[in-house]
Homo-oligomer: 200 residues x 2
DNA sequence: GTCTATAGAAAGATAGAC
DNA sequence: GTCTATCTTTCTATAGAC
């Protein structure tokens, strides 16, 4: 790649990184192109050399955020299924994730924000969600046919837990919520291992 | 109440109803005062005779939405604990709720939207969340000490399920997600009834 | 209390210099 | 490719007539 193109690619990545951070933190509407570009070390005029519109950037940012999130990193590590699930639960439902210390999961940080838009961003979100469900499903024990069901419900609880925690105004409630979701998540995984039979 | 004040109260309620509907549908930033007032049958100039600012209306709308939601209505009906829980799960995680056919639950529709703001709106959201958790907790069997834990996790799953469903672009995925959350919710309630003992 | 009109600010997108 | 400057639209909030 020639030097000029290499520089362009670097700028583009900087914009995307700023976008992931700022969109997650404030939502689509509360981030101006000027904010994004300033965070990327440029001025607002240069934006359109990289992206056709703010919405287009949003779509790309959602997809990239998923690839950069702690969840994705976990999928690369060599771990047993149990370990991976347990790390996923603990890491996702952690206060540091809620406070966006780690690269955030767009599913939780942008859920209702994306519901308010149309078109490509929602398709991107849907793909990211499907991937999370599939990842969780693969780690679950497969003694019965409810793996996908458990994976879906577990995903909803994790995403909901973090999304709600971010909206709450009270630190104690946040900790209790995260803790409850972690513990219940473990139980859901254990129950998924049992074959389904009527209770004694 | 004199007639004039009575009329004012009626207008105020119309604005609040429009606010609940439109904020839930589009989020805070994508609703203009003009939209709200038009939906309420007035023009934008009259808004400030009723509310000091758009944010103030948002706070009031969140609280009122909780009181008007299907969840609140359920708490008034005379039902057994099991029936109430089962109706709550089924009604909340229903496609008609996701599509906002019923009065929507602000916890699910506004979660990340509210996380992006500060101050009073988040306090209102926190209160509404606490009330949902308390309502669910009261219906759960109390054989062990995990009622609050289950109530928190169940709330997170319900809210997350609806919030994610709203963002998804694919009807089949939405139905599967809602179905999985309903079924898993029932299991969580059943497990909560068991005393906690090591599995055989 | 509700209307029309408007002030004032912000933001998305474009133009043109370098 | 990035800059500054600007066009244009949109929106919150206010002013003043009725």
């Amino acid at each position: 790649m020639p030097w000029s193109s290499e520089q362009k690619e670097k700028s583009r990545e900087k914009i995307l990184d700023s976008a992931i951070d700022l969109f997650s933190r404030r939502g689509f509407d509360n981030v101006a192109i000027g904010d994004l570009m300033q965070a990327a070390g440029m001025t607002h005029g240069g934006f359109y050399a990289h992206f056709g519109s703010k919405s287009e950037l949003y779509r790309e940012a959602v997809t990239l955020a998923a690839r950069k999130s702690a969840v994705a990193k976990l999928s690369a590590e060599t771990l047993s299924a149990e370990e991976r699930l347990s790390k996923l639960l603990a890491g996702y439902l952690d206060i540091s994730h809620v406070q966006q210390a780690n690269p955030p999961c767009p599913l939780a940080f942008l859920a209702t924000d994306i519901a308010n838009r149309d078109g490509d961003v929602r398709t991107a979100y849907t793909q990211v969600f499907r991937r999370l469900v599939a990842l969780i499903g693969r780690q679950l024990p497969n003694e019965n046919g409810s793996r996908r069901e458990t994976a879906l419900a577990l995903s909803a609880m994790m995403i909901g837990g973090v999304a709600v925690a971010r909206a709450l105004n009270d630190d104690r409630s946040v900790e209790q919520l995260l803790d409850a979701c972690r513990k219940t998540g473990v139980q859901m995984i254990e129950n998924s291992a049992d074959t389904k039979k009527p209770r004694p």
